[in-house]
């Protein structure tokens, strides 16, 4: 079977070689990079612009952004027909291609996030290493002491001046990271926007739309995960308190509604920007009505109507907009809102990537994507529901691992 044949359904006239070649993993790719960029921008609001109330969520979202980072190229690897040759992009980059710079942009961004994290957590590493060296017992503690000593990279000075310099470095890196994060994602938009052969993708607005929706989705996921982690901590804390007979005041509290409300406001700003640009694009296409408009109109208003107007704009944009902008935002309402926002952004990626292939370049036929749910082969697993869930679940696994080394909440213990 030819690649793409398993999930493509053709209608009317489609060129013989046309299939949906860019499937679910290419939907996941901009969705994941968007989350990375958005989480980073949120953390920078505190570090660069000094929005003090966001201190707690800033640290959280920075670590989360780092956990999401390796998951951005993962869908690409799962999508490549020759995944073992992925390093060719770095070895022989062909710079007329938008994809060629991916390795460079991605690694630059990764290094910025990693070094920012190091400056944020250096004091913690030193404290942990020293504590474990003195009080550590057993092999595990010994290994952990070595790990934390390595993580300090030999910088043991935790004097006030040195820590102050760390803070300054964090500020500089967070500042430098914002344009790079936007570039990383705007560039994902450029990959689509620059394909002149695809009538739906080709628009200079694509990178900007991608950045705005990226920030929206990143903030939404941070709010959601922040609330989830806080609730989990509260639950575990209560259980621990019951076991150890601690006084009730020592338990960690739940998510702070003030933080959630403030973060949601930033989300709304970017949401409005994203919708405005998307609608502008749609109106412009309808008004200019060039050759491709006939087929685009039948895709947008007929074939994909439910996905675009009900799921994306309705459930994914309008409903959460109302939910989040009504006064006295509760945690529960915020969770519902952010979940819908994530659905909306995911559907936007879907409607761009899959929608862009829903019609033949002959403009005389349609293609329908049937997401493989039960994998019958490696191919239908990689580019099916299984592969997508693998990519979606990976950040949480990584986040768990990283947060063992870099605690996201101030600890009760003193080292």
């Amino acid at each position: 079977m030819v690649h793409g044949e398993a999930w493509t359904l053709k209608e009317f006239f489609v060129y013989p070689n046309e299939y949906i070649y860019w499937s679910i993993q290419i939907v996941m790719y901009p969705f994941m990079t968007g989350l990375v960029a958005g989480a980073f921008v949120l953390s920078s609001l505190y570090h660069v612009f000094g929005v003090k109330q966001l201190k707690e969520i800033a640290r959280f979202s920075l670590v989360f952004s780092f956990a999401l980072l390796p998951c951005a190229p993962m869908p690409l690897l799962l999508h490549l027909q020759q995944p073992l040759r992925n390093h060719h992009v770095l070895m022989t980059p062909h710079f007329t291609s938008a994809i060629a710079a991916f390795g460079i942009v991605f690694l630059t961004y990764g290094m910025i996030v990693a070094s920012e994290l190091w400056f944020v957590y250096r004091g913690h590493f030193v404290a942990r290493a020293l504590h474990l060296r003195e009080n550590g017992r057993g092999v595990v503690d010994h290994l952990l002491a070595i790990l934390f000593s390595l993580l300090t990279l030999g910088a043991w000075d935790v004097g006030e001046e040195a820590l102050h310099r760390d803070e300054k470095a964090v500020k500089v890196l967070a500042g430098a990271g914002i344009p790079v994060a936007c570039f990383l994602h705007g560039y994902a938009g450029f990959i689509f926007g620059s394909v002149k052969a695809n009538a739906l993708w080709m628009t200079p607005l694509m990178p900007v739309i991608f950045i705005c929706s990226a920030v929206v989705s990143g903030i939404a996921l941070c709010i959601l995960s922040y609330v989830a982690v806080c609730q989990l901590r509260k639950l575990l804390g209560r259980r621990a308190a019951a076991r150890d007979d601690l006084s009730p005041g020592d338990e960690p509290g739940g998510a702070d509604p003030a933080i959630v409300a403030l973060t949601a406001r930033y989300l709304l700003i970017f949401l409005v920007l994203a919708i405005t640009l998307e609608l502008l694009d749609l109106i412009f296409r309808g008004y200019t009505a060039v050759k491709s408009w006939d087929i685009l109109r039948s895709v947008i208003y007929e074939k994909d109507f439910v996905k675009i107007f009900i799921l994306q704009y309705g459930l994914g944009n309008l409903v959460p907009f109302i939910l989040l902008s009504l006064p006295r935002l509760t945690i529960r309402r915020a969770v519902a809102g952010t979940l819908l926002v994530l659905l909306g952004v995911f559907m936007m990626r879907w409607n761009v990537v899959i929608g862009g292939q829903a019609f033949s370049s002959s403009f005389a036929g349609f293609m329908e994507y049937r997401l493989p749910i039960v994998p019958e082969s490696m191919e239908t697993f990689r580019e099916g529901l299984g592969g997508a869930l693998l990519v979606a679940g990976m950040p949480y696994f990584l986040f768990f691992l990283i947060s063992r080394v870099m605690p996201i909440f101030p600890s009760r213990q003193n080292y």
Binding site: F13, Y15, N17, L80, Q82, N86, V89, H94, G365
Partner: protein
């Protein structure tokens, strides 16, 4: 201890010193030297399709599949033939069942999931066949978008794929407005019509040209004024497909109708 000022100065000096010899490399660009020596290219392969002569027998598709080892029953092909049926009430129906490998054996038109459509003879205003293949564009978008340079244009204008270097991202497949690219079912890399480059270089014609019983397909060298193909292209009214994309396609058509997509 080194001061910041001297560090910056010395860093600039080192950076400048490293860049300088790199600039010298530009002077010895081998391709430019070659071009200067040979006074420009002598060959530009082009294709000429006379749609008036095509009867949709599909011999070209069959020959291509065998010559270029594209799995015979796989639903992809380097070249294909389209059938256009325009009805008196203005509808255009197009199909290319199995890339027309076995020709058009039924008068019903294959509309994929919309089923087979029967058009009565008396309702037909006009009907014709259009063979398609890679346009070997002068400004090939597929070459532009390849992230690793695995697809490239030869000096004589043909666009090829390096099967050992292609990573299979599919960007070139997406970038081609003509839909000529696909993934090879065996090698799992991007695949396309090469104008039978291996044959052209032995002085032969492409497999499809040799297989066409009616001379609907011809291949030639645009830079040779005595080439019969060049004579037709330069003296007759020829057209190309999808000019609006700025790809400068090099497959020229005689008798193309406005319905052709």
């Amino acid at each position: 201890m080194i001061t910041r000022r001297t560090f910056c100065k010395q860093a600039l000096l080192v950076a400048g010193g490293t860049v300088l010899p790199l600039a010298a490399l530009e002077l010895f660009d081998p391709r430019r030297l070659l071009a200067e020596k040979e006074e420009g290219a002598k060959v530009r392969w082009v294709f000429l399709v006379d749609t008036h002569k095509c009867v949709g027998c599909g011999f070209c598709v069959k020959a291509c599949k065998i010559e270029n080892e594209i799995p015979y029953d796989a639903h992809v092909s380097r070249t294909w033939v389209e059938r256009y049926v325009v009805t008196k009430d203005g509808r255009t129906l197009i199909d290319s069942p199995g890339a027309a490998r076995d020709g058009f054996t039924s008068s019903k038109i294959d509309q994929n999931s919309a089923g087979m459509v029967e058009v009565k003879d008396e309702e037909i205003a006009k009907a014709f066949f259009v063979p398609k293949l890679c346009n070997q564009c002068d400004n090939p978008p597929c070459v532009q978008v390849c992230p690793v340079g695995a697809t490239y244009q030869t000096a004589d204008g043909v666009v090829l794929v390096d099967r050992k270097w292609c990573i299979g991202c599919g960007y070139c497949v997406m970038g081609c407005p003509y839909g000529v690219r696909f993934f090879h079912p065996v090698y799992n890399v991007a695949e396309k019509c090469t104008f039978c480059y291996h044959r052209l270089h032995k002085g032969m014609k492409t497999a499809c040209v040799d297989a066409c019983p009616f001379g609907a397909r011809q291949v030639g060298n645009l830079l040779d004024p005595d080439d019969p193909v060049t004579k037709v292209i330069t003296s007759e009214r020829v057209s190309v497909l999808k000019e609006e994309y700025g790809t400068k396609p090099q497959v020229f058509y005689l008798g193309l109708s406005m319905e052709v997509k």
